[in-house]
Subunit: 214 residues, 2 copies
DNA sequence: AAGCACATAAGACTTTAGTCTGAAAAGTGT
DNA sequence: ACACTTTTCAGACTAAAGTCTTATGTGCTT
């Protein structure tokens, strides 16, 4: 019995994925989520054998969200579903720990192949670009490691910093004291090897892959 | 007599452009620049009838640099040369005031056509994507307008802010007092409708179009 | 000549940011 | 049970950010 979690904010595409999965694969359980917090919540509650994650979900923040998931649930295989087909971006996705990349233009047969490969422990990429995917450069993987070393609370604080909030506002949102926020901020700076919040915001927004579409 | 300025940091591609231009068009003068400050310097010194601008030049910062050029020299027609072919990005480029977009994969004939069209005052786009280019949404064009309203000094200060520098360091780099930097920073906040530097950095980095390649 | 935008900057001030020390509670894994 | 990490936060402090006011000089426009 295999459990697959579909995390995508687009209901229609969730339907399409469900359709592509239910037919070829039997004895699977499908679970769905439409934003990042919900995805985390599902992963906490039940065992999941494969996560199909859309990079552009609300709260996901592209690679930033993927790093977060990888950090919290290192044992859950993750395949990224996205509309992008840029080899440079796909390289980074793989470099950050995803086991596969499924373009939204993939056929049902491709999706089926991909999922079976990933469930078997392989890395799966679209054929036409698998040779274009290179290993990411050292500075990026170092950055990814540093961001991945953040604790969940530190991650949340960094998310709010990236939205331009003051420490006081972050504390209000997370329902903790400003002193605690400051403690987290200092810890983040240490781990990222920086010394002010502007640099932290820059690092966080470097993990965005596309310009904001809205 | 027509003067064309080629601004591209890649010497080989400058050569290629030069080759594509010297043959079909006669009675033109070619000038070259390899980074943004040099481009500005050339535009200050001589009349230029067309600027072929690479978005990814050192110091250029993508749309940020284009906005800067458009602000300083609103009468100089600008065509963007870039490797991207993403319609969303091209839409923004046109929305920010460029008169044309020439993909780096364009043929000599295409380049010739493009330049003649733009010199004649038309907007030129690659055929295969000209129908996919949409008008950019209101919030983005409003953002672009606000950034374009910055004075040259304010632009420079924002550039340094975006690099994570302190006011004191910015003052040292620009050889002005920290008090002056603060005055500029406050003016920038007013124009952008924000109240702290984190938000300024976010706006500036939203005008980046691709993740840093290096 | 007068007006205007811009750049420069000092002074005084309030508010955030950020560090350091220390400490207590809660959870995690062995 | 023990060690370890994480989260929480206070107090005291230094540094930086940001506002407001005022002012001088320059260059450009009308």
């Amino acid at each position: 019995m295999t459990t697959i979690l579909i995390a995508d904010d687009h209901p229609l595409y969730r339907d399409a994925l469900r359709g592509a999965l239910s037919q070829p694969l039997n004895s699977i359980t499908l679970v769905e989520a439409c934003d990042l917090p919900e995805t985390v919540s599902v992963l906490e509650q039940q065992e999941v054998d494969l996560l199909l994650l859309d990079l552009h979900m609300p709260g996901s923040q592209d690679l930033f969200g993927l790093l977060h998931i990888r950090k919290l649930f290192p044992d859950v295989p993750v395949a990224i579903v996205s509309g992008t087909e840029d080899p440079a971006i796909i390289s980074k996705i793989i470099g950050v720990g995803a086991l596969g990349f499924i373009p939204k233009t993939a056929s049902k047969q491709n999706i089926k192949d991909a999922i079976q490969a990933i469930l078997a422990g392989d890395i799966w990429l679209p054929e036409n670009i698998s040779d274009k995917v290179e290993s990411v450069d050292e500075s990026f993987s170092q950055l990814a490691e540093q961001v991945a070393s953040l604790t969940p609370s530190q991650y949340k604080v960094l998310c709010y910093m990236r939205d331009g909030l003051l420490n006081k506002q972050i504390g209000y949102n997370l329902d903790i004291a400003e002193a605690t926020v400051k403690a987290h901020v200092t810890a983040i700076f240490r781990k990222l090897g920086i010394n002010n919040r502007t640099q932290a915001v820059l690092i966080a927004s470097q993990l965005e892959l596309e310009p904001p579409a809205h």
